[in-house]
């Protein structure tokens, strides 16, 4: 059972320190939620774990499967089993969802075995069809250009579809609930729940508690000013829902000053 271990992670953007020593361990099979007010570094953590080039790691390590993944390129991290569902997925005009997914699957197969001839077309069709059914997606969706002209809900569903097809072992959901109405949120959450299991570790990054009504977390962490300041069980999220972030701020910013 592999674990993602984040150790004393410090990250800067353009010289400004955003993460100031994050420590967190996510085991496969666990669902963690990171909550926190805007601008506390939640998305920075997500991007850094995936390897976005704009984020400079100044200190710390992230271990997974015996490697410090901070030394790996994003594609290598992906093929190792890490997945990021983007808050703002990028449009790739002219490339269909199906074509993109097949290319991504084949890239992974080829990385494992350079002789691999790629997933047979029929097998791929079956796979994508079953995953789309799971997410209650119109089969026509596979023929649309990736994220090009997608509504907010379609974009998020497309992210979860990618997750379902690529079958990662550690999935980071960055504000997947943002911009979703309640129906879309439910469908997306059900999709995530369907993928839950002993082989998948999930990190849900969110500002609001409501997605956690659908995706029940095992652990909840509160992030403030680049650090995880509180950790607890699912009840911590409920507490936040009731009392807001104010008490956390008071508790920790006082200490800091």
């Amino acid at each position: 059972m592999a674990a993602l271990e984040i150790k004393n992670l410090h990250v800067s953007i353009e010289g400004k320190e955003i993460l100031k020593g994050v420590n967190l361990t996510i085991n496969q099979g666990e669902v963690h939620a990171i909550m926190g007010p805007n601008g506390t570094g939640k998305s920075t953590l997500a991007y850094t774990l995936m390897g976005h080039p704009s984020y400079q790691v100044t200190q710390g390590e992230v271990w997974y499967k015996g490697q410090n993944i901070l030394e790996l390129e994003p594609d290598e991290r992906s093929r190792l089993g890490i997945f990021l569902a983007f808050q703002y997925p990028v449009a790739i005009p002219g490339v269909t969802v199906a074509n993109f997914l097949r290319t991504a699957l084949n890239a992974r197969r080829r990385a494992e075995n350079p002789e691999d001839k790629g997933i047979p077309i029929l097998e791929f069709r079956k796979l994508i069809r079953s995953k789309m059914e799971l997410l209650k997606m119109d089969p026509e969706f596979a023929g649309r250009y990736l994220n090009d002209g997608f509504s907010g809900g379609e974009k998020k569903r497309a992210e979860i579809l990618q997750m379902a097809v690529l079958q990662p072992e550690i999935a980071i959901l960055d504000e997947t609930d943002s911009g979703l109405d309640i129906d879309a949120l439910r469908i997306v959450s059900e999709g995530v729940n369907a993928l839950r299991g002993p082989n998948l570790g999930v990190l849900v990054i969110t500002h609001y508690q409501r997605i956690l009504n659908y995706i029940q977390p095992d652990f909840v962490h509160i992030m403030l000013d680049g650090r995880i300041v509180e950790s607890g069980g699912a009840d911590l999220a409920l507490h936040l829902e009731e009392h807001g972030y104010e008490w956390v701020r008071e508790k920790y910013e006082v200490v800091e000053s």
Binding site: G51, S54, P74, I92, P93, T103, A104, R108, I121
Partner: protein, 470 residues
């Protein structure tokens, strides 16, 4: 993309870019350089009527008088005295595949042509060197009265029809290189589709240069009579040589009332070829002309497929794609001239520049006085893959009429860091990610191609992208 079968093909032709060549076995090769003597010889070898010889000589005179164009791409490296203006590979033209010489077959084999022929081709005209060596038409086309011949046979067998249209769309005086082609043309296709006949499968011709320094001056004449429909496909590949080669074609198309013609080109000359082509369609009442023009190869290409919309309600559409890598300049685009009322046009240009390559969109949109109720839309998108590469836009618009609706959009984009991060975060290497963005960028054009050409096009793009990352 990345289909297993395609990857196998890719691997099997990794000694690209079709840079193989067969030993030269030619019956006749004119001396280098251009003179009246060479032109007379060409005409005599072809056994042409007197009027054609006169046409050639007039054209030669015009060519010699006219200065090199001072605009467009840099042609200073082109030495017109170092070129063979005529090479005749074999005495007779092959009618069936069995008659085609073995060395030529080998070359075609490596290009995959027989395979294509076995599939669904309506007819194959393969231009090997300066003359058709192999030309076949499916029987049902002949029964429909469709003429699909080498240009030489067109002149021989249908002299009156030929003479009525030849040189009428692109006259000798049009430009210096059209004049040169008119003087020394050799090879190309002659197509006539009778009234109301719809040719349901594309007519195809392959072109191939094989002798160092050969000039290839193919000339095609396509006539779609009233209500007729035809799609003509031209694909080019050339072996690589160190000395510069030269290709200067002329394509004339007549689209009669209510007819529809599509002309598709995939140009992939090796990177030492100067490719200066004039192609134009005269579109009559309610006729439709569509140019699909892809330029991937050559050192320098100057090519602006054009539509002269001379009849009421005529439509012209130009889809242009250009890919310029290191040392390449693709100066491409399109021209539409509206002469008649109710005419409409659309130009879509997509260009990609990488490794210091340069693309230019050069377009002309002209609306003459009296051409009322004209609609036209021009969209040019350029994609730059690195800071060394360059893209320019030269959109000329001349409107002499008020009752027109004109749209023009241009965009230049770079492959974004966010796009690359997104794709690599799914396990694609950086090279695969860039290739994917590029394929998507040209998809609107590729989907207009017949299926096997779409596959070839994607394969060519992949090959162009190989090794594009440090």
């Amino acid at each position: 993309m990345n289909k297993p079968a395609e990857r196998e093909i890719l691997e099997s032709i990794s000694d690209y870019k079709y840079g193989f060549s067969d030993p030269e076995t030619y019956v006749y090769k004119a001396p280098k350089g251009l003179s009246q003597e060479v032109v007379r010889q060409i005409s005599a070898m072809k056994g042409e009527p007197e009027w054609m010889l006169e046409f050639r000589l007039r054209a030669l005179e015009h060519f010699l008088r006219r200065p090199m164009p001072a605009w467009g791409a840099d042609l200073s490296g082109l030495n017109l005295d170092e070129i063979y203006y005529y090479v005749k590979p074999t005495e007779a033209e092959g009618r069936s595949w069995n008659d085609v010489p073995e060395t030529i077959k080998n070359t075609f084999d490596r290009l995959g042509i027989p395979k294509a022929e076995q599939k669904f081709l309506a007819g194959v005209g393969a231009q090997y060197e300066s003359e058709m060596v192999y030309h076949s038409i499916q029987e049902h086309l002949e029964k429909q009265g469709v003429i699909f011949l080498s240009i030489e046979d067109g002149l021989r067998k249908h002299p009156d029809l030929f003479r009525e249209y030849f040189g009428t769309v692109i006259p000798i005086e049009d430009n210096k290189f059209a004049a040169l082609n008119s003087a020394v043309w050799s090879g190309g296709s002659f197509v006539y589709v009778p009234k109301g006949v719809k040719v349901d499968l594309p007519l195809q011709a392959y072109f191939r240069l094989n002798v160092a320094n050969i000039g290839q001056f193919e000339r095609s004449l396509i006539i779609a009579d009233e209500g007729a429909q035809v799609h003509y496909v031209e694909g080019c590949t050339a072996p690589q040589y160190t000395t510069d080669s030269f290709h200067s074609g002329v394509i004339e198309i007549i689209v009669k009332k209510g007819a529809r013609v599509r002309y598709t080109t995939i140009q992939n000359w090796s990177n030492n070829v100067y490719n200066l082509v004039t192609q134009r369609a005269m579109v009559h009442e309610e006729g439709t002309m569509e140019w699909v023009d892809a330029n991937l190869g050559s050192k320098i290409t100057m090519k602006y497929p054009s539509c002269y919309l001379v009849g009421k309600g005529a439509r012209g559409e130009i889809l242009s794609i250009a890919f310029a890598g290191a040392g390449q300049h693709q100066d491409a685009g399109g021209k539409v001239i509206h002469f008649a009322p109710g005419t409409s046009s659309k130009i879509t240009s997509k260009s990609i520049s990488k490794s210091g390559g340069r693309t230019s969109y050069r377009g002309l949109l002209k609306v003459h006085k009296g051409a009322t109720d004209v609609r036209s839309n021009v969209v040019c998108d350029a994609l730059l893959l690195d800071p060394q590469s360059r893209s320019d836009t030269y959109p000329y618009i001349e409107i002499d009429e008020e009752d027109v609706t004109i749209g023009h959009e241009a965009s230049v984009s770079k492959i974004g860091e966010e796009q690359l991060f997104y794709l690599t975060s799914r396990g694609l290497s950086e090279e695969e990610a860039i290739t994917m963005v590029v394929s998507g960028f040209i998809e609107p054009l590729v989907k207009e191609l017949p299926m096997e050409y779409a596959v070839e096009m994607n394969r060519l793009i992949q090959l162009q992208m190989e090794g594009s990352i440090g």
